[in-house]
Amino acid sequence: MPALQMNDVRKVYGSGEQAVVALDHASLTVGDDELVALVGPSGSGKTTLLSIAGGLLGPTEGTVLVGPHAVHDYDRRELTRFRREFVGFVFQGANLVPFLTARENMLIASEIAGGSRKHAARRADQLLEELGLAHRAGNVPGKLSGGEKQRVAIGRALMNEPELVLFDEPTSALDSALGEQVMELIRREVKGRGTAAIVVTHDTRMTHVADRTVEIRDGRLAA
């Protein structure tokens, strides 16, 4: 079963003459251990597609399946639970909680999901080790470099062992060398876990690490 199946998805903001079509009959399938790069210019619909795939937004039309979950049918509460349990997000600029340490920023994903504290602590330590952050576990984001913050954000996204990880411009705030390192890390982590992932990026230099690159323009996908 594919990790993500979006069929004929439309997303329209507003109505009548004010209506803006952000996604226009977009269909995308992502295999269960596939890493897909989604590229396109500003305003092309990348973020909207990512938001719909992650259950942050509902589609206006079409169906969205994440594994067996028919996300397009979910109400607000079900979407919250879905995001908590089945999806990992890495945002632009990491978006860490500024007063929590690197380790606590990872643990927060588990706290929100109400998981076992002991298991979460083991998992966070393991991820910190794998991401090369064990020595920075007790540092707050203000004491971490840009690359380290992004690695913490990746750790947070992987904490609850999601079926799908969505990366929103993960290298936009990093220089090329660091961006390259982070993309390699994403590939290693995603492939190592057999998790599906979509990486939204405007930087085509970063796409070589992906299994496949999908381009989006004016809300339409082109393979």
Partner: protein
């Protein structure tokens, strides 16, 4: 949510403004409450000390002890009313007295009474009296003699009694004969014959309000009140209570506004953070719980600091200011403050619910 607690512990500076404002409000609330309780205590002790359930005045006195006059026959008829178990006479004269050392006069409420009450033993022998312990601050000691009124009637203090003041005048409790003598020599126009008092105190095992109604019905010319009602009719007491309760209520409202405004601003500042938390699966309830945790803890912290400041201030406030800090009042203030903090922070719930998790990825 532990997130709220962690922010509070790690970034206490962010909460200093709200905490400081609430601390000042707590000090104000406790001192206002203390003043209210102090005024109430000083005005009503003699009535609160009564073990009787009902007090009966002459109807034309408009429920004023000093204006009332209850004849022996009336006392007898009151005793015959169904439900009345015990009747005794009570009278008072508000007057000055000069302690033994003669340094300065003291204000007295000299009570003539027939039966012991909760704090005053049975009447002593003629010429002797139990005095309210507040006279100790005027240098009076047990065994001293106070000369009372213009006729300088001597009363020897044979013991202290606690919390028996009336309208801030120290209670001096004497047997009826001594009281009659003080009354007729100080206010000849108000002199009463022996056996006549200003009020009748009634003890009952039945419902006091029903017994009071029965007395008024069956003994014409009387006005019978429960002790609580009688306290409320004391000059100034009800007005004082009402005024202070209103000031305290407004102060609680101000506390609520401080909390509401502070946390509304905090939520605005954290829209991005809350958007991220909601995007990774936090429910609005979880986010709001963190906010409420912070509001309640800030309020409790303010209560602890404000309470300590109020207690400290109570030691330096001049004795003439009747501030009486009571545990009961402190508990009510703490509960009120927490409730106010809950309500104040609840104002931000709508904003939290409306935060779109999709805002975390921007662009949408």
């Amino acid at each position: 949510m532990r997130l709220g607690w962690r922010e509070l512990v790690r970034r206490p500076g962010r909460f200093v403004v709200a905490g400081g404002a609430l601390t000042l409000i707590v000090v104000l609330l406790l001192l206002l409450g203390g003043l209210l309780d102090g005024l109430y205590k000083g005005s009503t002790g003699a009535f609160r000390s009564q073990s009787a359930d009902v007090i009966v005045y002459a109807e034309e006195s408009r429920n004023s002890l000093v204006r009332s006059r209850v004849e022996p026959g009336t006392l007898e008829r009151i005793g015959e009313v169904e439900g009345v178990d015990e009747v005794s006479g009570l009278g008072v004269v508000l007057i000055g007295g000069l302690p033994q050392d003669g340094a300065r006069s003291v204000d007295l409420a000299v009570f003539g009474y027939e039966s012991p009450n909760l704090r005053v033993p049975a009447p002593p022998a003629p010429g002797l009296g139990y005095a309210d312990r507040t006279l100790e601050t005027d240098g009076v000691e047990v065994g001293d003699t106070i000369v009372v009124g213009p006729a300088r009637v001597p009363v020897e203090i044979v013991g202290w009694v606690e919390d028996t003041r009336l309208l801030f005048q120290a209670g001096l409790w004497v047997e009826p004969g001594t009281w009659h003598r003080i009354l007729e020599t100080s206010r000849p126009d108000a002199a009463l014959p022996e056996g006549t008092f200003q009020a009748a105190l009634v003890g009952t095992d039945a419902d006091p309000a029903s017994v009071a109604a029965a007395i008024e019905r069956e003994v014409p010319g009387t006005s019978a009140l429960t002790i609580a009602e009688a306290i409320a009719t004391l000059p100034g007491v009800a007005a004082q209570q009402e005024t202070f309760v209103q000031i305290i209520t407004v102060t609680f409202v101000v506390a609520g506004l401080v909390v509401a405004l502070f946390f509304a601003l905090l939520v605005l500042e954290r829209l991005g953070l809350y958007g991220v938390l909601k995007a990774v699966g936090a429910s609005s309830r979880q986010v709001a719980a963190g906010l409420v945790t912070q509001a309640v803890l800030v309020a409790l912290g303010a209560f602890v600091v404000g309470g300590a400041v109020a207690v400290g201030l109570s030691f330096v406030i001049p004795e003439e200011v009747p501030v009486d800090l009571q545990v009961r009042r402190a508990v009510v203030t703490a509960v009120g403050l927490v409730a106010t903090a809950l309500l104040g922070s609840a104002i931000s719930f709508r904003k939290i619910i409306r935060i779109d998790p999709a805002s975390a990825v921007g662009g949408s």
